[in-house]
Point group: C4
Chain length 198, copies 4
């Protein structure tokens, strides 16, 4: 089975989930002081940026992984679906964070929810990665398979970082959002070797 | 006519319908107990999962069917459009189920509506399948055409299962949603042979 | 310039506009009689079907036209953008029709608006068609160019039908929606010859 | 790395952002005079048109730039993500403009916000352009690289025009929206040479 359509469907879900985030930015209605009303929505902008970055960077890694893959099988399709189900849900915890980040107590719940979804995305992506590179089944080249798997050793760092962010939500919720943003950036570091021209 | 653009348009509709489901997950506004408010929304999460799985798995089967197809003709395009119209409407019955699953009487109506749409998707997909594999018109290989059609004998099971789910909605509505979820999983079983590399 | 990306962007807009229509189907909130509340929404279902068909069928024709095209130039890109702007707006008149089709006076305004957008889509598509097939500039084959242009002679029928629907909106608004649906079906008739395998 | 999937993801974001704009066109509910209610929404239509044009024309330029590119690297992917984050947010300032364009004082804030996002898109696109064409790293042909870079000399005009529009928002807010529309049209002028057939 060719990976082309898997990419098309996945790209669709990534792009739509990222773009739907904008619907969570609520326009203040009939505000007497628009400038202040817009500035007071800063948690919405922060959550928008962290979520867009998280989705965008996972997309770059997904893209890079798929570049190395010669064929996909049914388990891979379902693992990918498992990843997409959590990517597609991102606008929901983003919106919960927008609404509750400044409210004591509720902020912790909101950021644990957000971190939980981020963690599920990281776990699902790791699963897809290790399934694809396990015993060189799907990758296009044996040498790449080894190099790619070597890179995968860094993934647990991301899982630990998201878990730390969740723990931090019980102490300083706002800092927790910053940890999620930084973890997304961690995933942006160039790790996978670029595939040769085909 | 090449199937590439048919795939692109179909992938778009599948991906968007699946991703729009998240808009049905409503953020509790100004709730004093956010944790409880989120937990009380469990029917919305259950319906989200069943609908995402239903769309995702039909997409995998659509993908697999199209892999075997060499060309498409106009009737195929319109049969495909008939399938997409029901896939695209899924967020509506999902939202009705969210809203009414715990309300006696209305729950039956909601789950009959949901099951009706699921049944229409299953019928439309079967129609597309049998049209495409009928007398080997569109498939790329005679041997495959035979094998694919043989697999199609299992489709009526899905139709019966959805009908049973609709009947069950009159007795135990929540169980009906579980039947719809299990029927989606039934469609996930590997049936169609994987196409050879091209 | 290759038409591939033009197709991808266009397919995206067609697919999203068609799928966003579902957001216009409003779930009755806290209704005591759900069955009746759902049945009373029939204008929304009728408008959903007509709009989905209109977008889906224009997509099929767009697809068929692009199949015959070897290259695209900048004017073609902008003509295509002019078509997409009207396709993307379809959910708006659809929603206005949902809301007002049963209210005397307002129904006429709603259906004139709807017909106006449908007419603009038909005009924009005709423009794209005649630009692309004019003096065989963009099509891949001289014989096809002639045959395609010959088919285009039928387009004015669609323009007249939409105009008649708009006029009818002043007399029997509901019948006007039926005319729009039938005109969409008229565009579904096989007209363009199928391109040979490439 | 092949640019194909970058195009698919980007096309998705462009197409969705453009199509989500329609959700900002609010249907008047239960209006006694529908015609007047619709006509009074003219700022929404104007903002819809300017935003659709802005996104559509940036897409055409993105498309043209990518046509000349042979390969993409990680920095290019992230610069592109930086562009998409601002494209995807366009429905938000569009909606703010809809809501406040006729309210003195707030109109200035709304149009500064809108112009700021437009300026960020223009800066991000220029960054992508100059990165891609810098020392012929990613483009497919040395002669094209030179010609493309020469065209890029015109980009600062767009940046100046958006800045002028922002300044104008403090004096005549409505005129500012017109400047944004005209600047989008300026970007539509054919500048990049068309790539040869490949």
């Amino acid at each position: 089975m060719r990976p082309a359509r898997l990419e098309a469907f996945s790209d669709g879900v990534f792009a739509i989930a990222a773009t739907l985030l904008v619907l969570e930015l609520r326009v203040p209605r009939g505000s007497p002081d628009l400038e202040r009303a817009l500035l007071e929505e800063w948690p919405a902008y922060a959550a928008y940026l962290v979520s867009f970055m998280t989705i965008g960077i996972i997309w770059v890694n997904h893209h890079t992984l798929l570049e190395h893959i010669r064929r996909v099988d049914r388990p891979f399709l379902y693992l990918n679906l498992f990843l997409l189900i959590w990517v597609a849900i991102v606008p929901f915890p983003t919106s919960v964070v927008d609404e509750y980040i400044l409210i004591e107590g509720a902020a912790t719940v909101a950021l644990v929810l957000y971190g939980g979804v981020a963690l599920l995305i990281a776990i699902a992506f790791s699963g897809l990665f290790f399934y694809a590179t396990h015993d060189e089944r799907l990758v296009s080249d044996r040498a790449y398979a080894r190099r790619i798997r070597a890179e995968g050793r860094l993934f647990p760092i991301g899982l630990v970082a998201y878990s730390a962010g969740i723990a931090l939500a019980f102490v300083v919720p706002v800092a927790s959002l910053a940890v999620y943003g930084l973890t997304a950036l961690f995933y942006a570091l160039p790790r996978l070797p670029i595939a040769p021209q085909r």
